[in-house]
Structure formats: structure tokens, C-alpha cells
């Protein structure tokens, strides 16, 4: 039967609970094909979900949430009266990506990161791409994320963006495209790992049958990427994770990665600079630090070089970096390559450095800085998503079709006042995946954030954070805007399996 034709529970008294509640819209659905058939790679999970009663599902959901709370997989909400800790809403139904699709994603991301790192090396080097007029000079050099201080600085392996989390979405046609790259301080990888632990406990049998590729190697791959950044000049480099501290909303992740890598988790106050070397204060005196995996934004890493009012960083750190005595990962200034306006040029950037077309396409993007494109955007505000170039986390954006006339008019004013600060993209119906909502399985919009490590070589971990817009119909998946997450199963194909 065609699921799409079932509109309410009453209209389908004979159908199963799962199908009755599941009302896919026009978006591509990860589990059901357009004809209502379950996609083959979802067969195991689908049959498990349908075989469990709503009570059993809800019970598993509660067990999962309790285990997250116990482990402290939480973020802290500071209220006027009381501070509370919440878990990031986590959905127990896994999202599944078949092997062939993953092969393409992996190739596309590897290509993209190779080009973006070459772009950064060029921008902070001879700026050939600007001279050749591929990317407008003022777009790059005028971006707030461009760091003049990085000009002509030696970066090992020319690997600037050591950790990247790119956001992919699947449009109505079912094809994956890149929505944005996060090259600064991307987070979420601990949820990829915690969700996997939870999924194994929630659906052990289904997991075993499904031939899922492991994600557990991420921490050791990260460590070897980081160590590789100093291997030229230190035999066994000391790696530390730099956190803004326990009050940061991603603190759990910082501690998690430090623990799994076995590296000290340091705050700015633990570090000391002496004669352009970086040391940490230990119980037995000062110890040399060689690589800093920093989870602190560029602006805050060194009050002498960047923001003077920062108390999170270390005075003199940038000079130690410039002197080549320490490696900061990601390199400062990588934000210039994930700027929402530069994003529009990434396919050209790939072609320029690698001579190939982008394997993973971009979303069509209008640069409001161009007058012709601005007038197109203004005329079609009700169909477009408009984003501020410098903002992230779902802030400073307008989802045209979901906004009121009033909101659109207000936004149009802001746009006209500062067009260079905005880009616009068509509203994409993100694909939907099955989620457990109030004891029932319902479709919700999702995106996909895989994590790519760049050092001596580029490695894509076979897994991702799938972010979920938990509100019905919402297209915004950011956790700051009511989003949640779920485990992502990348399947091994048979050849790959026997090859191992």
C-alpha cells in the first residue's frame, strides 16, 4: 500500500501502527521509498521498530536518556533561579547510510578538504587564487575570519583545518549536497560516539545483523593526526586539549575526547609561555606542550594577538606558534574558508586546485553583495532561506516559507542595509528519517555531519552525527533551536567486509 496516501490513523484502520502514524511529506524519506516500500537497507531496523510496542519503545527511550544523564552527557543551562543540566535530545531510531552512498560521500569530502586546505595555504601564502580572479579578493581579505597574522606562517603538511565537520543534506531528489563546512571549532563528535554506545545497547540484535562500520577509532585517529602535526621536530609530541572550561556548553565533549585520547585537558590558566615555548603547570613543575587541540575560538586564544578581554586563552601563545614551538589545531584563520560567502565559490576552488568537478555539489547560493542577486533574493524572500554570513548555530537566519509577512519585511530592511552580510539559498526540504515521538514513529527532517581529519593524510570516519529537527515540519536542526541527534549507521558492503 502507498503510505503517502494515508492521512490519518482513522483512514487506515487496517494498517500497522508504524505505517499509520508515518506520514511522509514531499521530502525524500530515508526509510520509505516514494512507492511506500521500505528501502532494503532499512529492512532490519524497520522490522524491529514495528515489532516493539509503544510502551517498549518508550521504555528504551527512557533507559537511553537515563544512561546519558548518568554518564553526564549533558549541557548546562544557566537560568536566573537555578542551573540545570540537560541531555541533548537523542532519538533511538538509527539513521542508515548504505555503503555505496557512503563511498561517494567519503570521496567527496576527501576532495573538498584537500581543496579547502590548499585554498587556506594559498590565501595565507602567495594568494594565487586571488590574483587569478577565481575568488574576489575583498571577499576573502575583508572577511572578519581572515587573520592577517597567519600570513606566511609555516603550517605542517599545509593542514590548516585538522578537524572539520561538514553539514550535508539530502534534497528532494535524494542526492547529498554540502550545506556548509565547519572548519573552526566543530563540535558534536562526542555525540556520534555516545549515540553509538546507546544504539548498541538499545538494539543489540539488529545492530549485529546490520553490518555497521565502527566509529570507535575516531579518538585514536584524532590523536595520531594531532601528533603528526609536530612529528617533524618532536619524536613523541605532547598533545593537550584546550577547553574554555567547565561552563562551556561543549565541555562534556572536550573532557570526553581528552579522556579517550589520554591527553591532558587544559584551560588557559594551566598554560605558561616562557621564551616562546608553551608549558603546562603540573604538580612536578612545568612540562613542555607541543600540540594544542584547541576548543577555543580564534578570538580568544591569545589576548595579546586577538581579543584583549579574553581570559580563556594564553598571553603569548601566538608568538610561540609563530616561532614554530607549538602547533595550534585547527590553525587560526581557518574560518575564512567556511565563510558563508566563500562557500559559494568552493566548487570553483576545487576545480582550480584539483582540476576536477566537485563530487558533492553545493546548494545553489545567492550572494546578496551582487546587486543582481540581491534583487532576485528580495523578490523571492518567501521561498528562500537567508543567512547572515558571520552567524552560525541557526541564529540570524530567515526561513522564508515559514516566516510571517512582517518578519520578511523586517529582514528585507536588514538585507538592504547591509547586503554583503547576507547570502540566500532555496528552501531545501531536508530528507526525513523515522524518529520516536511520543511513543510513535514519525518522520522528522535530518541532516548529516561527518567528521574529517586532515593532517599528513585525510581521514573520514565512517559515521556521522545525524541532527534532527524534532519539531514537526521544522527544518532547523541546530541543538540551540530545539534540535536533537541520533546514531548514524554506515553499512559495510560485502566486498569491504571480506576484505578486512
Amino acid at each position: 500500500m502507498s503510505v503517502a496516501s494515508v492521512k490519518t490513523l482513522d483512514a487506515a484502520p487496517g494498517s500497522s501502527r508504524l505505517q499509520a502514524a508515518y506520514l511522509p511529506g514531499v521530502a525524500y524519506d530515508e526509510m520509505y521509498a516514494a512507492d511506500g516500500e521500505v528501502r532494503p537497507h532499512y529492512a532490519n531496523v524497520h522490522s524491529r521498530l514495528t515489532s516493539l510496542s509503544p510502551d517498549a519503545l518508550a521504555e528504551r527511550q527512557r533507559t537511553l536518556e537515563r544512561s546519558f544523564l548518568l554518564q553526564g552527557v549533558t549541557f548546562t543551562v544557566y537560568g536566573a533561579e537555578e542551573t540545570t543540566e540537560r541531555i541533548i535530545p537523542t532519538d533511538l531510531a538509527p539513521r542508515i547510510i548504505p555503503a555505496a552512498e557512503w563511498t561517494r560521500i567519503e570521496a567527496g569530502l576527501t576532495q573538498r578538504l584537500r581543496a579547502l586546505n590548499m585554498f587556506l595555504a594559498d590565501i595565507y601564502g602567495d594568494q594565487q587564487i586571488l590574483k587569478d580572479g577565481i575568488v574576489p579578493r575583498e571577499l576573502v581579505l575583508g572577511a572578519p575570519s581572515y587573520r592577517r597574522e597567519m600570513q606566511h606562517l609555516y603550517v605542517p603538511h599545509k593542514a590548516y583545518a585538522n578537524v572539520c565537520g561538514s553539514d550535508l543534506i539530502r534534497g528532494q531528489d535524494g542526492a547529498f549536497a554540502v550545506l556548509e563546512d565547519n572548519l573552526r571549532v566543530p563540535s558534536g563528535v562526542s555525540y556520534m560516539l555516545a549515540n553509538r554506545d546507546a544504539a548498541k545497547r538499545t538494539f543489540p540484535g539488529t545492530f549485529r545483523m546490520s553490518n555497521v562500520r565502527p566509529v570507535e577509532r575516531y579518538p585514536d585517529l584524532l590523536l595520531s593526526t594531532l601528533k603528526g602535526m609536530a612529528a617533524d621536530w618532536r619524536p613523541d609530541p605532547q598533545v593537550v586539549v584546550l577547553t574554555p572550561g567547565v561552563y562551556n556548553s561543549a565541555y562534556y565533549e572536550h573532557a570526553y575526547l581528552a579522556r579517550l585520547m589520554g591527553s591532558p585537558l587544559v584551560e588557559g590558566r594551566d598554560l605558561v609561555i616562557h621564551e616562546n615555548m608553551v608549558y603546562m603547570r603540573t604538580t612536578t613543575g612545568l612540562r613542555r606542550v607541543d600540540v594544542i587541540y584547541r576548543r577555543v575560538d580564534d578570538d580568544f586564544i591569545d589576548p595579546l594577538t586577538f581579543r584583549r578581554d579574553s581570559s580563556l586563552g594564553v598571553a603569548g601563545l601566538f608568538n610561540a606558534y609563530r616561532a614554530g614551538n607549538v602547533v595550534i589545531c585547527n590553525a587560526p584563520g581557518t574560518g575564512v574558508a567556511d565563510d558563508k560567502a566563500v562557500y559559494a565559490y568552493v566548487p570553483d576552488i576545487i576545480r582550480y586546485y584539483l582540476g576536477d568537478d566537485a563530487i558533492l555539489p553545493n546548494i545553489e547560493t545567492y550572494l546578496c553583495r551582487e546587486p543582481a542577486q540581491l534583487s532576485h533574493v528580495l523578490a523571492n524572500l518567501d521561498q528562500l532561506v537567508v543567512k547572515a554570513v558571520g552567524a552560525s548555530g541557526g541564529y540570524g537566519m530567515l526561513v522564508g516559507p515559514h516566516a510571517s509577512q512582517r518578519e520578511r519585511e523586517d529582514f528585507a530592511q536588514a538585507l538592504k542595509a547591509d547586503p554583503a552580510n547576507y547570502i540566500a539559498q532555496p528552501t531545501i526540504q531536508l530528507s526525513t528519517a523515522p524518529c520516536l515521538i511520543d511513543g510513535r514513529i514519525e518522520p522528522r527532517h535530518v541532516d548529516l555531519r561527518p567528521f574529517i581529519l586532515s593532517g599528513e593524510k585525510i581521514v573520514v570516519t565512517p559515521g556521522a552525527l545525524t541532527r534532527v529537527a524534532l519539531r514537526r515540519g521544522s527544518l532547523v536542526v541546530n541543538s540551540s533551536q530545539g534540535g536533537g541527534s541520533k546514531d548514524t549507521w554506515v553499512l559495510a558492503d560485502d566486498a569491504r567486509e571480506t576484505g578486512r
Binding site: Q71, A255, V272, R281, T282, T283, G285
Partner: protein, 312 residues
């Protein structure tokens, strides 16, 4: 090798965990004692309130309220809840340094005492509530012992626990036997032993002849009982020696010297001496020396001046 800030947090985590357990036990003993209507009940409540530094003795008449506030009051700096919250906050700071097993025990306890049902659960069965808190703290200590590497970090945790224990037991004895005070009432003495978790081991050692001088002897000088002050100071010294092995300086560190001296003092003192001079002096010495050791630890391992430690 560990970060100075991390060592400091582990040390404080140990202190707060020990304090939480002690206060939970005092509250429990107080509640149980007052089930009987007797002079001993009032006396026990007074001992508990003095031991936690509460000067408002009128509360000795409202034992249940006093016990609840010792357990769950968010504004009482001595309450079990506040100690657990601080222990956990320190644990969160060093989450990468303690094992998941250890962390989960403490986090579970914290979630229980801060949960919205905590007050109701306490009302419904205060004794069971306190019993569970103490049992979970034992599980925490067991998990730390069984799953953490017994290296530097673990030693800082133990250091905090034993230093706090020495202080708390000294304070308890001071309240009972300091300044010429003497408690002779048998039930009160039994309650005192319960507060130090010492009743059963004491009975095995001295039989049911419960006498103040035996109690002093046991809680001050016993070599094997884990809550005696001598035992605690011996552990303090032992862990400081262990920690100092990692420091590359020659000779004894200041905390080690202080701890060694305190241990020797307790090792060679005896109860006859106390009967002559009273326990006050010795107990005051213990509290003062613990304070000095605490400061010396901070100065030697955490807040040392950088000039002295610059790499060559």
C-alpha cells in the same frame, strides 16, 4: 605527571566526599538516637550540632528538621547536598582523569540528592535515605580503589579524604572530651562510636565495656582502624611520600615533613599522657597541623612560584 589544577580538584573532591559521608552519618545517628526519649538523645543531638559547627542549640529539640537541613539544605555549607555538589563539580573539572565507574557513582548520588523527589523520599524514610547515601559513598570509594590507577591522581584523592577524616574525627572528639568536658553516659558514648563508624570494631577490641579512655585510645591511636586519627595521618604521610617520588627535587618536601612529624606524634603518644593533660592539646595540634599540611600541599604542588620551576 599531572596538571596542578587537576591535582587540586582531586584533592578537594576527596575532602568533600569524606565530609558528605561524615555528615550523613551524624544525621543518621542523631535521628536514630532521638527515637528514644532520653537524656542521651538530647546530648547526642548537641554533640552532632556542635561537631558540624551549629551554635544554635535550640535546634537540638527539632531533631528531624535539623537532620533534614544537614542532609538537603542548599544554603547550609555543611550539608551533605552541598558537599556532594562540590565534590561533583570538582569531578566534572577532572572528568578526563577519573574513571567512568567512579564518576557515575558520584553523579548518581548527586542526581539523587538534588532530584525533585529528594525531600519527599527523605520525609518518607530518612534513615533509609541516609543509609543509601552512605552506602553509595562506599561504592564510590570502592570504585575509585578498584578502577583508578593508584598513581598520582588517586593519591591526591586519598590525601584529601584522609586529611578531612583526621580533621572531622578530631573535631568530634574535641566536642566530647575537649576543655575538661567528659561524657560518661553509656548510650551517648555508643552513639559517639557510631558517629565514627567505630562501634562494631570497638566492641571486638574492648568488648562491651565502653569507657571514654578506651574510646580516645581507639579513635586517636589505633593503628589499624581506618577512622582513627593515627591511621589517617599515616595514610597522609604515605600518599605524600608517593606523590613526592614524582617531584624531581632532592630532600623531603614541606608537606611530607609536616605529615611525618604529625604521624610520629600520634605514634609515640599514649592515652596515659592524655589522662594527665587532657585531650584538648593533642586534638588542637592535630587540627592545626592538618591546616598546615593543607597549605603546604597547595604551595608545593599547585600554586608554586614559576621562577623556581622554570625549565633549565
Amino acid at each position: 605527571m599531572m596538571l596542578a589544577r587537576v591535582a587540586d580538584s582531586l584533592y578537594w573532591m576527596g575532602r568533600y566526599v569524606e565530609r558528605a559521608e561524615h555528615v550523613a552519618r551524624l544525621a543518621d545517628v542523631m535521628l536514630n538516637a532521638t527515637l528514644d526519649h532520653s537524656d542521651a538523645a538530647v546530648q547526642t543531638a548537641r554533640i552532632v550540632l556542635s561537631a558540624v559547627g551549629d551554635s544554635d542549640m535550640s535546634r537540638a529539640g527539632l531533631v528531624f528538621d535539623a537532620a533534614r537541613s544537614l542532609t538537603l539544605d542548599r544554603d547550609d555549607p555543611n550539608s551533605v547536598l552541598i558537599s556532594l555538589a562540590r565534590a561533583r563539580e570538582n569531578a566534572r573539572q577532572v572528568r578526563d582523569q577519573i574513571t567512568t565507574e567512579t564518576w557515575e557513582r558520584l553523579n548518581l548520588l548527586y542526581l539523587r540528592v538534588t532530584g525533585e523527589n529528594a525531600g519527599l523520599t527523605f520525609e518518607a524514610g530518612s534513615s533509609a535515605f541516609l543509609h543509601d547515601v552512605i552506602a553509595d559513598l562506599h561504592l564510590f570509594k570502592g570504585a575509585a580503589d578498584a578502577t583508578m590507577s593508584h598513581g598520582e591522581g588517586w593519591r591526591f584523592l586519598m590525601l584529601g579524604m584522609h586529611l578531612e577524616r583526621a580533621r572531622l574525627v578530631s573535631r568530634l572528639l574535641e566536642v566530647c572530651f575537649g576543655d575538661g568536658r567528659a561524657i560518661n553516659e553509656r548510650i551517648t558514648l555508643m552513639n559517639l562510636l557510631r558517629m565514627a563508624c567505630a562501634l562494631e570494631p570497638y566492641l571486638r577490641r574492648y568488648t562491651s565495656e565502653i569507657e571514654p579512655r578506651h574510646i580516645l585510645d581507639y579513635l586517636l591511636f589505633d593503628e589499624e582502624f581506618p577512622r582513627s586519627i593515627r591511621f589517617a595521618t599515616a595514610r597522609i604521610e604515605e600518599h605524600l611520600v608517593g606523590i613526592s617520588r614524582h617531584v624531581e627535587s632532592g630532600g623531603l618536601s614541606a608537606p611530607e615533613r609536616l605529615a611525618g612529624r604529625l604521624k610520629a606524634r600520634l605514634q609515640y603518644a599514649d592515652v596515659l599522657e592524655l589522662e594527665a593533660t587532657g585531650a584538648s592539646d593533642l586534638l588542637a595540634t592535630v587540627v592545626n597541623e592538618c591546616g598546615r599540611i593543607h597549605e603546604a600541599i597547595f604551595e608545593t604542588f599547585v600554586a608554586y612560584s614559576l621562577e623556581a620551576r622554570l625549565p633549565a
